[in-house]
Amino acid sequence: MTFISIVLKELLGLFVDDGSLALAILASIGVAAALLHFGMASPVLAGAGLFIALLGLLAENVWRAANSKA
């Protein structure tokens, strides 16, 4: 049982290190999907927005993490 819980924890740990980054990534994908679904943006614009959002999220997250460790 302990081994299974270790494996499950490791599996979750594969994708989630900082929960806020994982949630922000999922949210930005959700926003891109919603924009496309409701026709509020062209596919290329939504794609470009998603990529820029991902870069921004990563930059903000490492900056915040570094300052909390400083």
Binding site: I6, D17, A22, I29, G47
Partner: protein
Amino acid sequence: MLNLFFISYFIVDGALVGLGGEFEMPRDFAARQLHFGCRPLETTRAFNIDGVVFMINWAEIVPAISAAFLGSFVEVVEAFTIVLAAASVRGWRPALLGTGAGFAVLVLLVLVLGPLFTSIPVHVLQIVTGILLLLFGMRWLRKAILRGAGFIALHDEDKAFSKESDVLRAEAKAHARSADFIAGLAAFKGVVLEGVEVVFIVIAVGSSHNMLVPASLGALAAFMLVLAIGFIVHKPLSTVPENTLKLAVGIMLSAFGTFWTGEGLGIDWPGADLIILGFAGGFLMLALGSISLLRTQRLSLKVAP
């Protein structure tokens, strides 16, 4: 029947069908595979052999093999350290038994998961693997940036080896009768836990565009290389630039993840697969810029009174 001679490898319907040498295949099989085969993209190169056209999409295959190779290399090095620690404490027999059992579990995992992927619609597969790749890749990238800037300590294989050996010695001393079992279990855990990451990388990188075989070959090459180096040096591979490798893999997986998530959402990317290189360039610039800025900030904080 067709007699085909390969000087390279060829992708037919996304599957690797040759790696040098000669082999035979029925002409109608080749034609059928071609008909439903690779997408004719800008980066696809076609080869006409005895009337049958084979296609290779280098923009897909090279990043897939590289990402699988580099990602697996990092994980196999970590697994090797644990197996080596188990062997140094209780000898090679329990360590190899644990390793073998770990491999058996991983093979079982692939055999169970593999067929599931064929029954999932392509766009669902793309969006699921895309999201998982983004979570996985950006997690590695985040850690590599913070390590590169000096905010997190670098992973040290020598340290990991000493720590694992000490833990095993203490446990073996406390449970003298089951010391071999404990060492075998440690090797088993190491192989399964690190191996699951390798399996994920191979499946995630390889499943969306039928690149499972090239991705698996990349992982296998990493395994063979680590094994060969480990066999020669017989100590933890501490000189491997792990953080640089993690940074590179994080960039590649994040780029793949962005591409496939977009494709799964129905985005027709300009430049098709070539845009993956653009995404990789964007993530690379962000990573290098962040490392440089954060390192400067850390040094200025140290200097400040």
